[in-house]
């Protein structure tokens, strides 16, 4: 369905952003008492909590890998997080997102250190407004760091897309619904390796190059906010002592 609203006009987007401008992002590390590591993240209208448990014995036993840990990310949306109430529990969409996020994180975590273990990453979307998988993965990465899980890097995710023939960073709600393409990407910011890549819509090769470049730049900006959040938590911890 195509709407009549102009998503891009006079160099500005519907919410007043420039093409390469991110929505507001707020990250807080260590927000939960019970979890070994946790993170609360607001990204535009998205509100996400991630919590990490483990490494602990993988159950059921047949899921254990004798050579390394398994990474078990679970993406779940709260019933009240969307316009029309979502039925609680996993559906096909959330299972797929859980899988691609698990795989992205597995590449970065030093899984060889924990044979037969599982590292459980729970991502809970409390309020949803386009780009929840990027927000979820970004929050999960901070929670993993907060839990002290050994990693090669702190992974980070961001999307680019296309609206009205214009490549833009970090699609908002209307842009996601009525735009022409969406390209969520996750990278390891230190090496630039791509950990997650999905696309739907229609992009020319040139537009793809431009969108990928923009998404990666976006990732680096978000990465700085992640690091600041982790530093802040430990900064305040040392002050208390």
């Amino acid at each position: 369905m195509k709407s009549d609203i102009k998503l891009f006009e006079n160099g500005k987007r519907l919410d007043g952003r420039k093409p390469d401008e991110l929505r507001n992002i707020k990250i807080e590390a260590g927000v939960l008492h019970r979890a070994e590591g946790s993170c609360y993240l607001e990204w535009g209208g998205n509100k996400v909590i991630a919590a990490v448990y483990g490494p602990r014995e993988a159950i059921p036993r047949h899921t254990q890998n004798p050579l390394r840990a398994i990474v078990n990310a679970k993406y779940n949306m709260a019933a009240f997080s969307v316009e029309d109430r979502k039925r609680p529990g996993p559906d096909r969409r959330s299972r797929e997102i859980s899988k691609v996020i698990s795989e992205a994180l597995e590449k970065i975590i030093l899984v060889e250190k924990f044979p037969r273990a599982s590292i459980d990453v729970n991502i809970e979307v409390l309020d949803a407004e386009a780009g929840t998988r990027c927000a979820g993965l970004t929050a999960a990465a901070v929670a993993l760091a907060d839990a002290g899980i050994p990693m090669k890097d702190i992974p980070v995710s961001c999307a680019a897309g296309k609206i009205e023939n214009q490549v833009v960073l970090d699609l908002g709600k209307e842009e996601d619904n009525y735009g022409d393409a969406d390209l969520p990407v996750a990278i390891s910011p230190r090496t630039g390796e791509i950990l997650l890549l999905q696309m739907d819509g229609h992009l020319t090769q040139q537009e793809f190059d431009q969108a990928l470049d923009m998404a990666i730049k976006g990732c680096h900006t978000v990465s700085e906010i992640q690091k600041k959040a982790i530093m802040e938590k430990y900064q305040s911890a040392t002050e208390v002592e």
Partner: protein
């Protein structure tokens, strides 16, 4: 299930003999409570409640549906609670298990039987169209006493809810019609001691649990006893007294947080 080491059990029991609790509270002291409303923009109403380290989020969604044949002019409410694996190493994902269902049902009963929601005002066309009210409760961080946290969150979310009439082209939005709610207080008993608002450690070694909901007049509106231990009649009376006293404080807190 976590196996509480017997050392911890002995430790808590010994403290109790001297009238003490592990976190320094007295037997009838409630933990600090924080209630924050309108935390979810997509929901009709929402609240985040913290009791000590326990943290719960409740969200209200509304939709239009058909009434039940026996109540053709009344709206319908449903309550669901999710013990998501985020909140505790012992919670698993998947369909709700016994404990999540008991929690949802106790919260549901507290709201339904005391007629907090004025369901008779939620009729759009008798026999045809009514408002559905969905109360969804998410446990975010688990440090004991989910019963009180979940009911408090559900009430705070309901009290800040707006009926989304505009979205369904049924005129202007208006506040969800409500009556004054009863407030639940939970106590547990271990080693002969009765403590209110149990923390997780206390809950794990508890022999018996009693939840009492009281209204503004100090009358009793609902009760639920749990676990395989027992109470004497005097103990039940003591628990009721403590529930009324603490219920008053909880009520003040709740009203203040929703601006009433």
């Amino acid at each position: 299930m976590t196996i509480t080491p017997s050392i911890k059990r002995d430790f808590l029991a010994k403290l109790a003999e001297n009238g003490k609790r592990a976190d320094g509270r007295k037997f009838d002291d409630y933990r600090d409570i924080e209630i924050e409303t309108n935390v979810i923009s997509k929901a009709e109403g929402s609240a985040r409640v913290k009791i000590g380290s326990t943290q719960v989020i409740a969200g209200i969604k509304m939709d239009i549906g058909e009434p039940y044949p026996d109540t053709p002019e009344e709206g319908v409410m449903t309550t669901a609670a999710e013990l998501i694996p985020l909140a505790s190493p012992d919670f698993e994902s998947g369909p709700p298990r016994e404990d999540a269902i008991e929690l949802a049902r106790v919260v549901d009963r507290g709201i339904r039987e005391s007629k907090v929601i004025e369901v008779e005002k939620l009729c759009i066309e008798p026999g045809e169209k009514i408002w559905l009210v969905f109360i969804d409760i998410h446990i975010i961080d688990f440090d004991g006493n989910l019963f009180d946290a979940a009911s408090l969150a559900a009430l705070a979310a309901l009290m800040t809810s707006t009926v989304p009439a505009e979205r369904f082209e049924l005129g202007d939005n208006y506040p969800l019609p409500l009556r004054t709610p009863p407030i639940s207080c939970t106590s547990v008993k271990y080693n002969g001691a009765i403590v209110i608002d149990p923390a997780l450690d206390e809950e794990e070694i508890a022999e018996a649990r009693l939840t009492v909901a009281t209204d503004e007049n100090g009358d009793i509106r609902a009760m639920q006893k749990g676990l395989n231990g027992s109470f004497t009649v005097d103990e039940v009376k003591k628990v009721i007294k403590a529930s009324i006293d603490n219920g008053k404080k909880l009520r003040e807190n709740l009203y203040k947080s929703v601006g009433k």
